[in-house]
Amino acid sequence: MDFTFSAEQLEFRDALNALLREEVTGERIRARWESNTGWDEGLEAQLLSMGVFSLMFPESLGGLGLGMVDSVLLAEACGRVVLPEPVVETMMIASPLLVDILDRGLGNGSVQAIVDDLMAGKSRIAVSHPINPHLNFAARADWIMAGSGDGVYLLPVDAIQLTARKSVDPSRRLTEIRFDPLPEYCLAQGEVGAALLRAVLNRGGLATAAQLLGLAENLIQQSVQYAGDRTQFGRPVGANQAVKHLLADVAVQLEYARPVIARAAYTVGFSPERADFAVSHAKLAATRVAALAARYAIQVHGAMGYTWECDVQIAAKRVWALISEWGEEGFHKNRIHEWLLQPNALIGPEYTFGRRSLMIPSSDVGQCASTARTTK
């Protein structure tokens, strides 16, 4: 049992962090808000040369062969700087879906070509899942992989009708997409399609959770800084319990959400068939800490906190947007209690990690029989 990340994993994260900290400042995010594309191609080129778009492809396809556990650290780093470009989505959602499709021998040579182009920075791809009514930066993509019913479709972007929608978060460029699910675009349907889409949903939930974690870090860091700098009654406002306890509560939830995201990444990576519970847990934990961080960050900043000028809004608006992407709170809570309260759920203490956690539910679980006695 080991919840730590390896030195290599942390080194790659640190390298990405260093680049992003330098290149993705509040000022430069605001510059994107004013631009037509909302996109920094210079940064994209730097990420490409770091290998970010090859990370999640196996070495046999010319990629770097990283896994979900590696990628959550990177997604967190992207959240930390409130990165506008959908790098995490390419890395954690589109790339593994392409790998799934190739592994299953679906599509034709075109998929392999798309993978090569993606790694070479020659094309971009976005993934649309029925759970999300809007797709971010669809117009910047060359290819869209879209779910519809239990079908997975691959279309060139000009085969899709795009309707732009404005987001409260000016960094996001949302689009409603419409297309005819013609057989010529269909990669998979039926059971195979449903399984692919279920995996996409769990990877999307995980990718969002990891970004929310980074966003919460961003907000808590800004708030700690401000509460230490701002003085009233002759001392920093952060010396007051009424202020510092707010941030302590965020810090607790942040630290405690980390291994939950790690656990989900591990499960998505190594036992994807069992990942629903772990991903929903991760999305809920990350949602909770990020929402709390956004609320308290504004409170701690006082009147400054709700100005356009203050950078709190950059991170807070992303939090509010991501909370309802890839399944809002109700969706994920339902997945958990529907599993937990079925008659044969394996809920005992030995089912968290151990061999028994892998066993098929059976009628002799016996939990209720052994505990009912103790109420007497």
């Binding site: 942390l10 010396a239 810090a251 809920i347 990690f353 505990t371």
Partner: protein, 400 residues
């Protein structure tokens, strides 16, 4: 990252499960599932006998080094032991304070002589310990200790004068570790020393404190000339604060694993009741059960991450967080239990005021957010130590 058990670990699981199945029977059948939080005062004699049975089977002090009777068990094995212990309905561990607090503290800070004199009693399930920290004037401000230890040159003994309070299970214990002031000229955390005292002696008066549960796990412990030898001080004079804080780190380490297993048993019981009485069909209850379940998973993952060590698992940062996290979770669980029982939660079915397990759980968990450092104090520590925020201004009396 590796979030699985090895084949060898799973063989260990089978060994634990088999032993517990074979031994939690006969005279011990009645204490299965008893003695958890809010129920600690029950079956003390039987649970002490159980501790001796565990000890004979080699299941006490698993994490201790073999030299002192332990198995040098890995974290994984300790996790598995606690999981199987909870699953089997093992009773609340009376040996817990000795095994997870006194023992590791002596192994880290004690003399060889102290280890020889005190560790075997803990390992064999014969010697039970309690914790003498809080005092009437030293609650949240723990370093404001007034209990004095005075060196009596004539008898060559340390003599104790003062009072400890909120001492859990003192009435069922054989020994107490005491944080006392040995240098009356010093204030705060300086001038304190850490002692090991037998409770069965002149000059010690233990008085139970009746709680709102109607029971008395907590006690006041008065010292009026009670004594221990020079060789019963852990560390040097004035080292008391360092030793006492070192002990608290152990409290937040491996010892959390057993605690979480008791929580899991409580939660599973509540889930079973909710399924049986139909409250599990209410959306509001379902949501809270889901919250409770993932909340406990979160506590478990964090303890295991903390025990994994390494850069992102540093004990110092997370240790101060743990108390706030578990106490809030457990307090909410107590209320969930009552809401799942519905109107029946109010009924006292036995004795003059004999509460059932869940009623005790609910009332006892009102204390969780207070003892061992209140939530307010925990938040101060987190904000000031983990986040580096400005310190709370101190009153004049506390300024040094």
């Amino acid at each position: 990252m590796l979030l699985e058990f090895s084949q060898e670990d799973e063989r260990f699981r089978d060994e634990v499960a088999t032993w517990l199945t074979e031994h939690l029977i006969g005279q011990f059948a009645d204490i299965r599932g008893r003695g958890g939080p809010g129920d600690e005062h029950h079956f003390v004699r039987e649970r002490k006998a159980w501790e001796r049975c565990l000890a004979e089977g080699g299941w006490t002090c698993l994490g201790w080094p073999e030299q002192w009777g332990g198995r040098s068990a890995t974290i994984e094995q300790q996790v598995i032991f606690n999981e199987e212990y909870a699953r089997a309905g093992g009773p609340g561990r009376l040996g817990h304070i000795g095994e997870t607090l006194t023992g590791p503290t002596l192994l880290a800070f004690g003399s060889d002589d102290q280890k020889r004199r005190f560790l075997p009693g803990i390992r064999s399930g014969q010697a039970f310990w309690c914790q003498g920290y809080s005092e009437p004037s030293a609650g949240s401000d723990l370093s404001n200790i007034k209990t004095r230890a005075v060196w009596d040159a004539e008898t060559a003994l340390w003599r104790f004068y003062g009072q400890k309070v909120w001492t859990s299970l003192a009435h069922a214990s054989d020994f107490i570790f005491v944080l006392a002031r040995t240098d009356p000229k010093e204030k705060g955390h300086r001038g304190l020393s850490f002692f090991l005292l037998p409770l069965a002696q002149e000059g010690i008066d233990i008085r139970p404190i009746k709680q709102l549960t109607g029971t008395a796990e907590f006690n006041e412990v008065f010292f009026d000339g009670a004594a221990c030898g020079a060789d019963d001080m852990v560390g040097a004079p004035g080292d008391g604060w360092r030793v006492a804080m070192g002990l608290l780190d152990f409290e937040r380490g491996v010892s959390t694993l057993g605690q979480q297993m008791l929580f899991q048993v409580e939660l599973d019981e509540i889930i079973c009741i909710a399924r049986a009485n139909g409250t599990a069909r209410q959306p509001a209850v379902r949501q809270r059960i889901a919250e409770a379940h993932i909340g406990l998973r979160t506590l478990r993952y964090n303890s295991l991450r903390m025990l994994s060590g390494g850069e992102d698992g540093s004990l110092s940062r997370e240790a101060v967080i743990y108390k706030l996290a578990w106490s809030n979770w457990h307090r909410n669980l107590g209320k969930l239990a009552m809401d799942v029982l519905g109107p029946d939660a109010e009924l006292v079915e036995a004795g003059p005021y004999e509460l059932n397990r869940l009623q005790s759980l609910f009332l006892f968990t009102r204390a969780d957010t207070i003892y061992g450092g209140t939530n307010q104090i925990q938040r101060n520590l987190i904000a000031e130590r983990a986040l580096g925020m400005p310190r709370e201004p101190r009153g004049d009396a506390a300024k040094e």
